[in-house]
């Protein structure tokens, strides 16, 4: 990731754990991730891999004191000032000026993320009034402009309607209008189309792409759908058990996918047009381990078909080529040597 634009977000060694009644849950265990200006970073992983927690950490939305956050989230705002979001006190002015204005978020469930007792006009103009020095009528104009931008027909009329009067796809458009109303530099989209039908999903993905080009926004797109990633993202991070296991640009990930987990993900879902490959999928064995008991070595070792003795040790993040990283012993040049030693000892 060297030859393109400047870093917008630089996450360094982010760790998040939660205290629960049944022990500490290690949700994110040392994530390094960069989001570049005007690019889309796709984050893929199964439920519980820490992808949504990472997103919440960027917005400083994690509940304190239950969540322990360490590491750095360096965010460069419009004025070019870099702040570490982790160190900003909760409910401070500093975080409130970033949240909603510099970074905004859309969620999976447009049904539950809109307030049912306020009209959508009131909800969007609230965001505008909070972050911009404008009068109420200017905020209203801005709201109407945003609603027509996201393709809601007759926005002046629909301004006064309530969330239940909109369909799922229309609600997600309202969410996007709200998120984009203050022209943020980063839009975090957490499974934005998972609850939608395929034809509506296609509409929303196209809308996100046009919005991104028009507003020069970066997008962090969290999803479990590899098809959505391939269509939308330029950079991809594959997460497993709180760690990034593979990180690179979209072509590197989809053509090579060196990590056994990424390979497993690609082979475990039916891909349109590949029926000729026979009726058996090659799913990943077992299931995601409990995040309360972290494995000592590689987190994927218990499910990995290529497991080596060395996998009992935590693998380092290896740079395969410029900007392409994999966390797996299989691709380590030194692993063969170590492996030989281990085998000698075993003999």
């Amino acid at each position: 990731m060297n030859n393109h634009s400047a870093k917008l977000v630089d996450i360094i060694d982010l760790k998040v754990s939660f205290n629960s009644l049944r022990g500490v849950v290690w949700a994110v265990n040392g994530v390094d991730m960069q989001i570049y200006k005007e690019r889309t970073l796709g984050v893929v992983g199964e439920s519980g891999c820490g992808k949504s927690v990472t997103a919440s950490a960027i917005l400083s939305l994690l509940p304190k004191p239950q969540a322990q956050v360490s590491g750095k989230i360096l965010f460069t705002d419009r004025k070019g000032i870099t702040k570490d979001i982790v160190t900003l006190p909760p409910r401070s002015n500093a975080i409130n000026t970033i949240r909603g204005s510099e970074i905004s978020m859309i969620f999976q469930e447009p049904m539950t993320s809109l307030n049912p007792v306020f009209s959508i006009g009131a909800q969007i103009s609230e965001a505008v009034l909070l972050h911009q020095q404008v009068s109420k009528s200017e905020a209203r104009m801005r709201t109407i402009e945003m609603l027509s931008k996201v393709g809601i027909p007759s926005p002046i009329k629909r301004l006064n309607e309530y969330p239940h009067q909109f369909s799922g796809g229309m609600r997600q458009r309202v969410m996007i209008a709200m998120a984009m109303s203050c022209n943020p530099s980063l839009l975090i989209a957490d499974e934005p189309t998972t609850a939608l039908d395929v034809t509506i999903q296609a509409q929303i993905l196209e809308l996100m792409d046009t919005i991104k080009d028009e507003y020069k926004t970066s997008i962090m797109l969290i999803t479990h759908d590899l098809g959505v990633i391939a269509a939308m993202a330029q950079d991809v991070a594959v997460m497993y058990l709180g760690k990034i296991v593979e990180y690179g640009n979209v072509k590197q990930i989809f053509k090579n996918h060196l990590h056994p987990y990424t390979e497993g993900l690609m082979r475990s879902i039916p891909i349109l047009g590949q029926r000729s490959s026979g009726r058996r999928l090659v799913p990943i064995k077992g299931m995601v381990p409990d995040a309360r008991i972290l494995p000592v070595g590689c987190g994927f070792a218990s499910r990995c078909p290529y497991r080596l003795p060395i996998c009992a040790k935590a693998p380092p993040m290896l740079e395969i080529e410029s900007g392409y990283h994999v966390r797996c012993w299989l691709h380590s040049k030194s692993h063969q040597k170590v492996e030989e030693k281990v085998e000698v000892i075993a003999v």
Partner: protein
């Protein structure tokens, strides 16, 4: 009567749900969830039923399993061991109870479809008790056998559903549907609620079970990639009607209905180098409360003419086994899915 190879022949099935409104709960109209649906399922095959939310696919499944009663239509079922067929739509009382041993259902949500206060053993033996079948030891043997068949350890039978993960619960749901050796299994979105890596495991299990027990699936799903993978034939529904039905190859490579074409093109392909030109349909699925006149798809169709607004097209043969409900199915050049080789994505 019913063809020899067919297990089920559905003819002109209709289900309208009354919509009541106002203080006196007056009937203000009907939601035409299923409005004249005909299809056949052959013995031992999997028929995929796809469509967007609200198209009536789940209602069809519930009608076939007689969880709800149809208003009109026939559902001829080739009962095991009998020469003449029974009409599932006309059964009542004891006859209906008997037929339930042969028609079973797998539900979408493994969290709400298992009784949390029953152990796995109680869940699996309940069908035998209801139908007064088998001796104690036969039942126990059968339960242990089924547990192994769905990939669970027989020792787990004294556990409660909450002690299992989503994938394991879905396996219990599958085992329950298999207890009385049914001939037809209606699977309503059986993998939609599961994580990507677990989805592959459950799909493989369903295929393996079908190969060893030889039953027939009616596989209801909104996911066209999953349906392509598991089905031999596919039916596409839109607002209460089947618009196209054919073999997987016919439907996916040369769709004849514009809706099928749009659905196929809307699926994001997990390959960043293939950027198919997506057909973005206008609007969303229309309400079945007030379906438009003529062809129900004409409001969203790019190819619609005046004829489509007035005359409703009938489901007619275009080639052997491939039926389409479109006035212009012969004239339109529609794009299907390009079948690409497997090596591109597994390499």
């Amino acid at each position: 009567m019913i063809g020899n190879d067919n297990i089920l022949e559905v003819k002109d099935l209709v289900k309208w749900f009354p919509k009541k409104a106002g203080l006196l709960r007056k009937n203000v109209g009907y939601v035409k969830a299923v409005d004249g649906v005909s299809f056949t399922i052959r013995k031992g095959e999997t028929l995929g039923l796809v469509g967007e939310s609200g198209c009536g696919k789940t209602t069809v499944g519930r009608l076939v399993s007689r969880l709800i009663d149809p208003d009109k239509g026939q559902m001829l079922f080739a009962e095991d061991g009998k020469d003449n067929n029974v009409d599932l739509a006309k059964l009542n009382g004891q006859e209906l109870k008997n037929i339930r041993t042969q028609v079973q259902m797998i539900f979408q949500d493994p969290f709400s479809s298992l009784n949390p206060r029953m152990t796995v053993k109680e869940i699996l033996e309940e069908p035998f008790i209801i139908h007064n079948m088998g001796t104690r030891s036969e039942i126990n043997d059968r339960i242990a056998y089924l547990m192994r068949a769905v990939g669970l350890r027989p020792e787990f039978i004294s556990r409660y559903p909450h002690e299992f993960s989503g994938g394991q619960r879905q396996r219990i749901g599958i085992a329950r549907s298999l207890t009385l050796s049914p001939k037809l299994i209606i699977a309503d979105e059986p993998v939609s609620a599961l994580d990507v890596s677990i989805r592959g495991q459950v799909l493989n299990l369903m295929t393996i079970l079908q190969e060893s027990f030889g039953f027939t699936y009616l596989f209801i799903s909104h996911d066209l990639s999953v349906v392509e993978h598991i089905s031999e034939r596919v039916a596409v529904m839109y607002v209460g009607k089947i618009v196209e039905i054919g073999s997987v190859e016919q439907l996916y490579t040369s769709p004849k209905h514009p809706y099928t074409e749009a659905l196929l093109s809307a699926i994001p392909v997990a390959n960043p180098e293939i950027k198919p030109k997506r057909i973005i349909l206008k609007g969303s699925v229309l309400s079945a409360l007030n379906p438009p006149s003529g062809c129900r798809f004409h409001t969203r169709c790019d190819y619609a003419t005046e004829l489509c607004k007035v005359v409703e097209p009938l489901l007619e043969d275009v080639t052997t086994g491939h039926q389409v409900a479109c006035h212009f199915s012969g004239d339109l050049k529609l794009r299907g899915v390009e079948m690409f080789s497997v090596s591109a994505s597994t390499g």
